[in-house]
Structure formats: structure tokens, C-alpha cells
């Protein structure tokens, strides 16, 4: 199982590196999109899959990252990595008080509080016209350079490699995180919060920190998104995106890190295929999702793992 996973990740890396020379321009753009949303879903898995906290407002941090990098690039045009860092840090900064507040409650209350805060941030993005452009959003976000005086990232292939590098590094960072003592503590909280407390530990700080870390990676995904699409609009903070992120996590396999990335890919491919046939693709996506929730509770990766283990 272990060596299988290692071979698999190596193969995936080779494929990721080779694809830009195989795929057409449009396909490469879809792949970049897949990876960005994969990172977004991955970040959500940290809190929902590993700590057992269901956030229904994760899009807010994706949106904060997108607005942060868009504003910076539009006004000062620094190298893209600077904008990425700024977007991710902005998301983490806002997530700190929200996380502190929301983790006072647990379960469904936590979900509702995160939703309420996300809708609040969405309203701010929608109404603060001078800064965010209101419902029009910010258009014309440039893909600048890799560093000051460095190579341009304007070509789809160059930007793809930036996104792929960010996603792979984040995946490794998150894997390291969940395997660290801190990550073990998170899983202990998920399994039995009462026992965790009676062992003399306060779960609150752990929850707040992982919430902020998840927001950081969601912000990074958003910060990658804005220059890629060239815009940031209130839709990227809307509750629908939070819900879709949850769908990606569940589809791929909760608590597996790689699962949500695959889930995001499946979700966006379904969307691409269906939306070329009908503009009402959401109906079919909804049906597929309902079936997955009922029949594949472990998601794709969880089900596959169980299948492999059952076969020895």
C-alpha cells in the first residue's frame, strides 16, 4: 500500500509535468482550473476531514485571497508570488478572529457561524464599491512576472507550472501537517473531543490554528485564481462556492487530502461536460452528488482504499 502510494505520486508528478506539452490550450486552462480548485478543496479537508469541523463558509477565504492578490496586482503590479503571499496572509488574518469566534461553538452551530461570517464578508465585497468594484468586481488582473525583472508568467504554460508547483508544495505541506504531532492532536479532537479535554488539553487553540491554516491555503488558491481568470468578483465568496467545496471534499473522500483534489477534478470535469450540453447542468450535478452522498460515503478515494484493503 505504502510503496503503491509512492509510485502513484511519482507517476502523478511526471504526468503533471508532461501534460502541458500534450494538451491543447483550452484543455490546459481547464487543468489549471482543476488544480486551483483542488487546492481549495484540499484546504477545506484540513478542517472538515482532519478536525471534524464543518465549515460552510470556506469560499470567504478563497475570495479574500482572490481580492487581495487582484488589488495588489492591479495597483502595484508586483511579481505574482508576492500577490499570492499577500492574498494567503490576508485570508489567514481575517480567519483568525472568525475562527476564534466560531470555534466557541461546535457541530452545526460552527457550520452556521462560518456561513454567517462568509455571507457577511460577501456583503462587504458586494457593497464596498470603491474598493472592490461591487458586483462588477475587479477585471483585468495581470499575470506579471515570477520575480522582479524575472520571466513573465503571461503564457498559459508558465502560469500552469506556477499553479502546479503551488498545489504540489501545498499538498506536501498539508501532508506533513496532518502527520505531525499537531496533526495527530487534530485527529484526536475529531475522534473524541471530550476525551481530548479530559486528557488535559484545550482543543480551542488547535481548532483556531487549523482554521487559520486552512484559510491560508484557501487564500492561496484564491490568489492563484484571480490572475488566472483575470478577475475577482463577489461570486468567488458566495455560499454556492462553499457548498461546492464541500461537495468536492465528499466526492473525493473526506480526510484523505488527495481525495478532495481528485474530487475537485471530477466535479469540474462533470461541470465542463454537462454544461456543454445544457445550461442547467446543476440539476444533474446535484443528482450525482446526492447519489454519492447516499451510496459512496467514503468518496472515491475512501471507497477505492477500502476495496484495495478488502482484496489484501
Amino acid at each position: 500500500m505504502r510503496s503503491l502510494g509512492r509510485v502513484g505520486s511519482l507517476a502523478a508528478l511526471v504526468v503533471l509535468a508532461a501534460l502541458p506539452w500534450v494538451l491543447a490550450r483550452h484543455q490546459l486552462s481547464i487543468l489549471t482550473d482543476l488544480l486551483i480548485f483542488g487546492l481549495f478543496a484540499l484546504s477545506l479537508d484540513l478542517i472538515i476531514g482532519y478536525t471534524g469541523m464543518v465549515s460552510f463558509g470556506h469560499a470567504a477565504y478563497f475570495g479574500l485571497g482572490a481580492y487581495g492578490s487582484a488589488l495588489l496586482l492591479i495597483h502595484w503590479a508586483p511579481p505574482v508570488p508576492v500577490a499570492l503571499a499577500a492574498g494567503a496572509v490576508l485570508a489567514a488574518l481575517i480567519a483568525a478572529p472568525v475562527g476564534w469566534f466560531s470555534t466557541r461553538a461546535t457541530g452545526i452551530y460552527f457550520a452556521m457561524l462560518t456561513l454567517a461570517f462568509a455571507q457577511l464578508l460577501y456583503t462587504v465585497a458586494y457593497k464596498w464599491r470603491e474598493l472592490t468594484g461591487g458586483s462588477d468586481g475587479i477585471a483585468g488582473v495581470p499575470k506579471t512576472t515570477l520575480f522582479w525583472g524575472g520571466p513573465s508568467l503571461a503564457s498559459p504554460r508558465a502560469y500552469y507550472f506556477l499553479v502546479a508547483a503551488c498545489v504540489v508544495l501545498s499538498l506536501f505541506a498539508c501532508r506533513g501537517l496532518v502527520r505531525s504531532p499537531f496533526g495527530r492532536a487534530l485527529q484526536a479532537i475529531r475522534e473524541n473531543e471530550h476525551r481530548f479535554t479530559s486528557l488535559g488539553q484545550d482543543p480551542r487553540p488547535f481548532k483556531v490554528v487549523v482554521f487559520v491554516i486552512a484559510a491560508f491555503f484557501a487564500g492561496l488558491a484564491g490568489a492563484l485564481f484571480a490572475p488566472f481568470r483575470g478577475f475577482a468578483s463577489p461570486e468567488v465568496m458566495f455560499w454556492v462556492l462553499s457548498g461546492q467545496a464541500l461537495m468536492m471534499v465528499i466526492t473525493g473522500g473526506i480526510g484523505t487530502l488527495i481525495g478532495p483534489v481528485l474530487g475537485a477534478m471530477v466535479f469540474i470535469l462533470i461541470q465542463e461536460v454537462l454544461s456543454s450540453y445544457t445550461e442547467h447542468w446543476m440539476i444533474f450535478a446535484g443528482v450525482v452528488f446526492v447519489l454519492i452522498v447516499i451510496f459512496l460515503p467514503g468518496g472515491l478515494v475512501g471507497t477505492a482504499r477500502r476495496w484495495i484493503e478488502a482484496r489484501g
Partner: protein
Amino acid sequence: MSAALLVELTLNALALSGLLFLVSIGLTLVFGILRVVNFAHGVFYMIGAYLGFTAVALSGHFWLALLVVPPLVGLLGAALEASTLRFIYRRPPIYQLLLTFGIALILEESLKVIYGPTAKGVEPPPLLQGSVEMLGIVYPSYRLFLVGLGLLVGVALWLFLQRTRAGLVVRAVAQNSEMADCLGADVARVRTLVFGAACALAGLGGAAAAPMTTAYLGMGIAVIVEAFVVVVIGGLGSVVGSMVGSLIVGAAQTWGSFYVSEAAMVIMYAVMGAILIFWRWGLFGEEE
């Protein structure tokens, strides 16, 4: 501020609270009895509004529509509960929330297919089209009707839950469904019926709201977010909490949009935040 304006704003707040109550009471009942947060609840409100539009267009009678729509929406809700939710009660709560989220997507998009993107206006019934003079102001009578409707449903529900045998069974299932099952209550049926009744109330709310707000796409999410705030303030699962929460949110929205029209939503969340600092599980909620 003049006395007349004060009266008018207060009545506006009460009318909004009445509608919010019709939606949030279903949300809180379903949570209390099924332990499910129904994300699709707002869509049932929306379906009520659109069905109300159709029923008025077909029959020409508003009251008939108000009578027919809730049972239809309730039937749809009960059918969905029995065909999907019923199978996953043993799973962690996230799965039920996500299932209802999927259902919400399907239903909302279906409404878009059937009715198209334009909002549908509904005429209030002739009896309630005018205004009445009271407390020194002239006030649209339809909004007064909404205040009364919310109050009526609240009292009726309270009487049902506290004073009838069926209400006793419902309360028993809410308190301990396994024990109720052992004592011979048909828990599966209670769940389906409660889910249906909650959807019917949301449908009633939607049909009653349509003459004031029109039936439009997106009304479902607008109302569900407000209803979430209501139940978080009042405490999930509490009928009284849902009533008090509706009054608070109705007041915050009305006065908020009067003083700072741009930031009414912000006021609502600020009030919620302030209340949660002191009552972590809402005013009438119990610790989870």
C-alpha cells in the same frame, strides 16, 4: 423621530418577523426532531412562492392558493425525506446537511427551468389590497395580515405540541428518539410527517410572501441565511427561540436598513455576534 414613523417601522419589523417565523420554525423543528439542518428549507419557501403564483394565475383566487400550496409543498418534502434522507440518519450530521444541499441545487435549478429568470408578481387578494388607518398612520393591510399569520401559526403550533397527543409523540421523539421508538412511537413516520409539515410551513411562508416580495430566484438563499441567523440566536430546536429570534432579526433588518441602508446585513450579524458572546447556544438553545 416622529411617533408615526416609529409605529410604521415597528409594524414593518413585525411583518418581516412573521415571515421569518414561518420559515425558521420549520428549520428548528426539523433540527429538533430529525437532528438535520435542512439546507433545502429555503428552496421550499421559494417553491411555495412560485406555486402560489401559478395557483393564483390558474384560479384567480389568492385564498385558494394559500390553502392549496402548503399541502403540495409538504407532500414534496415528505416524499424527498422518505426517498433520500431516511437512509442516512446514522451517519455524521455533515452527510445530511450535504444531502439537503444537493437537493436544494436540484430544486432551485428546476424552478429556473420551469419559470425562467424573471420575477413573478402576485396580486394580494382584494380584501387586503388597500390600506388601513390605525395608530395615526396609514398602513398597507397586507403587511398587517402577515403579522397576524405568523402569530396564528405560532399559537396553533404551540397548542398542537403542548396540548395534543400527536404533539406529545413529536416532543418525545425530539427528546429521545430511541426511547420513543421503544415505547411504540413510529419514529420513521414522525420524522417524515414533521419534515413534510416543516416544508408545508415554509411553502405557506413563500406563498404569503409572494405578494410583498414577488417570487424570484435567489429568494430561497436570502431567506435561509436569515432563518439560520434566527435559529442561531433563538437556539436550534426551540419553538420559543425561533419566535424571539424572528422578532430580533426582523427588528435588526428593519431598523438597520432604515439607519444604514447599505449595511443592514452587517447589523444583523453584529446582533447575532453580540448575543452569542453571552449565550453560546442561543437564547433558548441547549448545549450540543
